[in-house]
Amino acid sequence: MILFGFIFFPLLYIIVGFFPFPLKWKKVLALLTVGGNLVNAVNLIYKISHVGMIKVSPGSWPAPFGITLVADRMSAFLLLITAIVAVSIVLFSLQSVDRPRLERGYFQFLFGIIIGVNGSFIAGDLFNLYVWFEVMLMASFILMSHGGEQPQLEGAIKYLILNLISSFFFVAGIGLLYGKMGTLNLADLSNKISQLGDAKVILNPSLVLIVVGFAIKGALFPFFFWLPASYHTPVPVVSALFAGLLTKVGIYSLIRFYTLILYHNSAFWNPWILGVGTVSMVIGVFTASSQFDFRKKLSFHIISQVGYVVIGLGFFTLSGLAGALFFLGHNMFAKTNTYLVAGWVHKRKGTLDLKNLGDVFKESPVWSVLFIISAFSLAGLPPLSGFIGKYSLIKSGIEAHHLFISLVALFVGIFTLFSMLKIWIEVFWKPVKEGVKSFTIAGDERLMVTASGILALMSVLMGIFGVPIIDYCTEAAADLLSPEKYIRFVLNV
């Protein structure tokens, strides 16, 4: 019943949140809930490393007829990372979110997002995946507009409309696919498609609709416009949560979908995946370097880093997929932490405009170090986690004879470093410009430092223990590359 716990624990908090308990209890309960989720995730990854796969069939309905929740090595890895990110997000929220927001159900919606993300990682059924997407999106819509300030509302409208359109693409694709195949269970679909032979061309329209839905959710080129227009508007810790988790769910779904369904027709899909990944990398990093807002710069980098994961999927080799998975995990830590530091700067200085900031290093060396760890990790400097991720991706690219794409990835890495150094110099290093009023809002920030410290520590640990983690990711990639195992496990044949 471990898998069911990932949905059940956050749901318990949501239930309690509807009743008027004192705020102090709710805060403690929120911490307990994420703690329980973390324990559950550690337990799962321990079991998975022995067993390989775990499934639950709610309602005792056997696989192709009922919904199945399945976790394999990739799901367990991402669930663990989600749980760690959730712990630090809750810790950070306790001190950085203002009291009216906390009283108006902030944590309920936060746990709504966590349910949605957890559910998407263990869904074994396409429609179930859609439902978890919607759970996640509903909660994220509300968190984005929570508080009702003007930029938030503007950002929320753009985010809302484009994500709804992606849902329509996704559902229409699901409907058409069901009409043709008569099943929505991913394992059963994969099994049936492999028996189709040349007739599988008729599936392409519905598959294109579904992939476009994933691509909008995952902010891939050319569907990324909603992300930089909205991610910098909500409360800083909320944008950290979104940046860390939401787009990654779209990419996870793309990986799962590609390795189970699209690979049957890889001659058609592979060039598209590789091209889209490469262009996303380049576009993201170039547009980022022209920004002058802390969070906007980071938002564009999300697009660029999502591109890295997608090219790893496009190589479709063992080391490529392992690198993509490692990079996905590393990026969830590093990206969330850079946003958390941005949140701290915003709380402390009241602005995020790079031109008006400066001298933060003198004020707080601790936060500067926390930022530089994550930023250098994003840029891919050794011995941090990003180095190992990029190294294995580029190495596998060269091995798979995609020399041009590997070169582009290296080039993009240099530009990422440039952007991160620019933030470092503008925010932490340079003296404040004359004529700009600089002020400091002091306050208790021990929990905030802890939250950010956990994530920075994870970046360092993923770098130091890179070899065992890469080994684990390689096993996960081996599972992904031989879907027969997954199919046999889910369908019990």
């Binding site: 059940f8 749901l11 949501i14 239930i15 509807f18």
Partner: protein, 141 residues
């Protein structure tokens, strides 16, 4: 709206719709009906009531704040999913008991009914919450 005919009729209709909704909830397992539809019909009765009597009176009439209904409903649904876990089955598995009654037919009661009841309460709470809040914001009556 201060119209004696409307007031009496709405009072009657909201009661009738409530009973109808409970009937629909009860027959919903295999026949048309169920928690979602029942909840909507119950809420519609109170929406009529709110249109005529205003949001304040409606709040009094439904006794608890709508949020409690949503929380309670979620609690019942969540409870029904884990009951089967405690008996060593997969979550959400339906467990049934037959309660023999002398005159009328036996009552066939199970966890799906508990789940449906939760859905009923959530839908009822959600729709009344939306309508009452909108009316209060727009200063209806």
């Amino acid at each position: 709206m201060n119209n004696i005919v409307l007031r009496t009729i709405v009072n009657l209709i909201s009661r009738l719709l409530l009973y109808l909704s409970i009937y629909l909830l009860w027959r919903g397992h295999n026949a048309p009906g169920g928690g979602f539809i029942g909840g909507i019909i119950a809420a519609i009765g109170f929406v009529f009531y709110a249109i005529i009597y205003g949001p304040g009176k409606t709040r009094e009439r439904i006794k608890l704040p709508p949020m409690y209904y949503i929380g309670g409903g979620l609690f019942f649904s969540a409870l029904s999913t884990v009951i089967s876990v405690f008996t060593g089955r997969q979550p959400l598995t339906g467990l049934w008991i037959d309660i023999p009654l002398p005159v009328i037919e036996d009552i066939h009661l199970g966890t799906p009914f508990l789940f449906d009841m939760g859905v009923y309460l959530v839908v009822f709470g959600m729709i009344t919450a939306i309508i009452i809040n909108i009316m209060e914001v727009l200063r209806w009556n």
